[in-house]
Amino acid sequence: MTGDRQVARSRLVVIGGSAAGARAAQTATTFDGDWQIDVISADPDAPYYRPGLSKQLLQGVWDADRAAQPTPPADLVTWHRGMTATAVDTDQRQVRLDNGDGLPFDRLVIASGCRPRQLSSVHTSTPATRAQRLFEVARISDAIDIRRLLAGGGHALVIGAGLIGSEVASSLAATGTQVTMIEPSMTPLARALGPLGDEVCRAWHDASTVDLRLGSTVETVTEMDDKVEVRLTGGAVLTGDVAISCIGVVPDTEWLSSSGIPLDPTGAVRCDENLLVHGFENIAAAGDIASWDSVRTGRPTRVEHWLTAVEQGACAVKNVCALAPDREPFAELPMFWTEQHGHLLHFIGHHLPQTDWSVMEGTPHDQQFVAAASHRGVTTGYLLVDLARRLGHYRQELTLSSSSIG
């Protein structure tokens, strides 16, 4: 790496200790040169396998130890856990922390991630000392607490039937929990998986014990000592042991607005093709807060998937610590997977709402197929439904084809 051009000890600060942040810190430990690496992580727990939150951890198949991921030794990386950055002073090159401290940096990676979108109307009659009944699946403690409250099976009300909500419902149903899932849209997975993926997942929900209430909107959620009530528009009231809100995430970046870091209207940090923040040579962003000028799509692009955050963490820290000629654009093919009722779906590449879909092999009716996403005649992505063994082939197809969708 380029650290060998540094003469004095250089200070790298990484804001965020999840997928992108932990990966950035780990990558920096491999740099030549003398780097002091600090990671500020709001999550009090050490890095863990986040995709397991809505899968093995929620099912109780894994405990926290099983989900732990390797971290660099403490003599190489200093972790500031349970702490939040409150501002970046780009002139003084300092990150301010919620305890009032300032952390100076030469290079900065912002990977503070998204936070769950909040339900608008939540009431609670539960004293603060009693068990929580309304959850998000944001941290390992959420998955473990939900599991504990549903130990005897129980009834879960899942709010939102997108990718995470559907995974949560499917994981809980597999453990014998009665699940009611509430969703305003009639095609909740179309945004993530396209119409064919949406259809096949809804068919799996229908064939399962999950009670999927499409076209239903939550009016209020009321937490009580021993149960939670969800009132729907129209007056119906559902009662469960827990309610789990899975209504999406928003970039957690309001704290940056006074720091001169450019944000787009959704709150995402605007970056160039190398993930460097526009206007700054010494600040990069990575993960689901980064809207970068993608060479692959030809437009500002933001990806909310975990694996992309991991890959961007490595790329961002390499570029921000390198000299300009050594920087490389972030051009990895986005990929994500989801497990629904024992079925495995992969998506690789990009798709947009106006994407055309065509079946490449298998048939949607048999629930085992590959569909290609294309835009203006160019293939931009593939959805694989229970055909993992074809992933290598379609990945290569995508790598070979010009996949610009600009």
Partner: protein, 63 residues
């Protein structure tokens, strides 16, 4: 760098194939094959990502 896969834990999700196709492949029966256990320098980052991403955490990287 060397890579090993615990084939007892592996459930053939193919996530590693999507990340590091030079190193991992599923055969015609859908079972994982490690194509190169000695990882070339240019592929090390991808193999590390694959180990992090593995849904059963079955990939072991030895630096």
């Amino acid at each position: 760098m060397r890579v090993e896969v615990d084939l007892g834990a592996c459930r053939n999700y193919a996530i590693c194939v999507g990340i590091a196709p030079e190193t991992f492949e599923l055969d015609e029966f859908g079972l994982l094959v490690v194509l190169q256990s000695e990882v070339p320098a240019g592929e090390e980052e991808r193999v590390r990502d694959a180990a992090l991403a593995c849904p059963t955490q079955a990939i072991l990287v030895k630096e």
